[in-house]
């Protein structure tokens, strides 16, 4: 399911980006593959009291405590119950000089995408409809729209994570 056409595969390595694609409902999203540490199935997490609704809890990743977010809620979408295809993608976040790990729960993992950088469309301005902070760009893969997400913004705790309303009252 790669988006690379034959003419693109002739491009130098630096001009192609590789992404890990996944689905939230009917929509396709992707993140820079170099930021993906691992992918796990959904397992029970320990709830963190009095935290934003998108913070599902923390889990034990080989001795390290990692927070798990529900990506739908982080982007301001309504929550959907987890099923057996639900996966947790462990991402590396760069916070200044610090490297942190977080997990995001997604409905379904798709596959690895390659796309020439020049095919990545910049995010249109949706104005007040959508807080596009998280979006790194748009790309087409197999006729479908794939939204590229900024990993570092996902891991930013201070902003209230809603994609639709720009600010909580």
């Amino acid at each position: 399911m790669s988006a690379v056409s034959s003419s693109e595969s002739a491009l130098p390595y630096a001009d192609i980006g590789e992404y890990m694609a996944f689905a939230l409902g009917a929509e396709e999203y992707a993140v820079d593959i170099l930021r993906v540490q691992e992918i796990r199935g959904w397992e029970a997490v320990t709830r963190i009291p009095n935290s934003p609704s998108y913070v599902k809890g923390v889990l034990n990743l080989r001795g390290t405590i990692i927070p798990v977010f529900d990506l739908r809620q982080r982007l301001g979408m309504p929550f959907r119950a987890y099923e057996k295809e639900t996966a947790v993608i462990i991402l590396t976040i760069l916070d200044g000089e610090k490297r942190r790990s977080i997990g995001v729960a997604v409905d379904r993992v798709s596959s690895v995408l390659s796309s020439a950088r020049k095919h990545i469309q910049t995010t249109p301005n949706f104005g007040a409809q959508l807080n596009a902070d998280f979006i790194d760009g748009l790309v087409t893969a197999n006729g479908k729209l794939v939204t590229l997400l900024k990993v570092d913004r996902l891991g930013c705790f201070s902003s209230e994570g809603s994609g639709i309303e720009s600010e909580l009252a």
Partner: protein
Amino acid sequence: MTIDLSQFHQVFFEESFEGLGVMESGLLRMDPGAVDGEEINVLFRAAHSIKGGSATFGFNDIAAFTHVMESLLDEVREQRRQLTSRSLAVLLSSIDVLRAMLTAASGDGALDNALVARQQQELEAVLNNRESSPVIEHCAAPQANSAIDQVIGWHLVFRPLPNMMRTGNDPLRIIRELAGLGELDVKVDISLLPGFEQFDPEECHLCWDLHLHAAVEQARINEIFEWVEEQCDLVIVPLPGKDPASSTSNDQDVERDAETPRVSLVPAADSEAERHAGNERRRTDRRENERTASGAGSIRVDIQKIDNLINVVGELVITQSMLSMLGENFQMGQLERLKEGLSEMERHTHELQESVMQIRMLPISSIFSRFPRIVHDLSNQMEKKIELRLTGENTEVDKTVIEKIGDPLVHLVRNSLDHGIEAPAERIAAGKPETGTIELKACHQGGNIVIEIRDDGSGLDPERILRKAIEKGLVDSETQLSEQQSYELIFQAGFSTVETISDLSGRGVGLDVVRRNINELGGTVEIESKPGRGSAIIIRLPLTLAILDGQSVSVGDEIYIIPLLSIIESIQVKPDMVNLIAGRAETCKLRGEYLPVIRLYEILGVQGYRTGELTDGLLVVVEGEGRRCGILVDELIGQQQVVIKPLEVNYQRVDGISAATILGDGSVALILDVPGIMRLANATPELRVLQCSA
């Protein structure tokens, strides 16, 4: 074959700094009237070692400087000279300078060579029995000191020609650039300004007399004036230098002005050097702290502790091979032996853990030893009489705690010195002894280390504090606060009741940072005070940062850990113990005391809790920050040691939760922060959620 000596530099520096510490505490303890021969010997040997070491490694400046100190000490120990309080003071300030030299040599910072030269001159003056030497005339620099022509500042007379501004040059810009090089004193001379009718705003009739306190080369200054060279009269004279500087004088005013720097500054230089050295010392201390805090560094360990460790590991290996053997051809009949082996394993692991933690523990005296000097210098500076008493210096604390508690402690002691203890006259008027006392105490209490800073000064004035807080907008004017709550206000950012900001404190940023640093170490700070009698600051820190004894409790399906240290007891609530206040606040009566009840499920938002009635569940009586309360839980599960895993590594701090841990089954449990829970309980529900999701 040449040996590369630089690999030994690190050890040399460590030992030299230690030696300096020994010398410093020795000097502080010394009483000029009654000099102890052995003490002087110790000092002499320390100086001798530093001299020898620095000569071996090629640090000739340091060797030469220390040589003078050593000669002085040698004469005292051979009783060829009396130790006067003046020589004592000079030796003390020399130690500061020597420390700075060593720090610079170890590659951590620049050295003020002029300061070194001055100090060395003073030392030699004392050695040659000259109590004060005019700083300027003594031009014969000691052999190894290479930086003779370095100056500490410049005196400039800058007079732009009237048409200077027409060429687009702005004297203000030039002066600003000068100010960027260092501290600049500016005096403007408006005597040449014409009357208002003749005044042409595009002409410059002003003249400036500037004193620049910066150790820069003259070339740098010339650079700044490059563009206006032709359009002004400029005189540059070093301050108070040894070099008769290049004076480009073409103006009569020059001679008059050039005389001022030549005034002998000996008494001022003395305290200036001390203060300067003191500042250097503070700066290098901080840098040292930063360096060690970032993880690099070494630790000195008592050999006994290492031997213990080796023994324990040995036993662990034996038990482990015994278990392996058992496991190879295991039959059910051997179950008893297996269980025995496992419990021995548990014992040894526990011992190993304790031994290893012991290794990282150092006596707190390494921090306390800084204070005699600080108190000594500051009490002289502030003209107050202060006695410092240290107790419990042998109390051992984890190395990380030592590294991070040093600066907050220094700040707190300075506060006591500055604001707490009154001037001698005030004290006598208040019927107190002239000499104020500051007591620094450290001890173990349960699994905590408690550090107290007590003074018998004027104490805190709750009214004044409240007024200041209202003034600064930290609380609104209607607030009524208890005395204790008023004291807590001083920990707020931006708070200071000091009218003038002294060099030490009063900038209003200190105490909140202090509290935050202490909280980050997992500790707490409290204040006690009696107006007029004195105050005490009590710091509680956990002994070890990595492991905790906890009681696991369940609320609904969730498991939480309550630190055993905070728990006083756990009780089953009987109906007659329950009381209600104002229909809302629940209390439980325990031995005559009414404890507020906290329903944990409410605070933490747990669904599926089982106990709605107080009498159905268990009440865990806890204490935090001096207050007690009862926490309602469903069940007590067990007591265990848990490894503390901070949440901040990948997530962030959560109110009410101090950290997380991993249970035996691999799942994560949260460790409660008792004071945090109590704070959450006091907040309204809406505030709670807002606070937590911020």
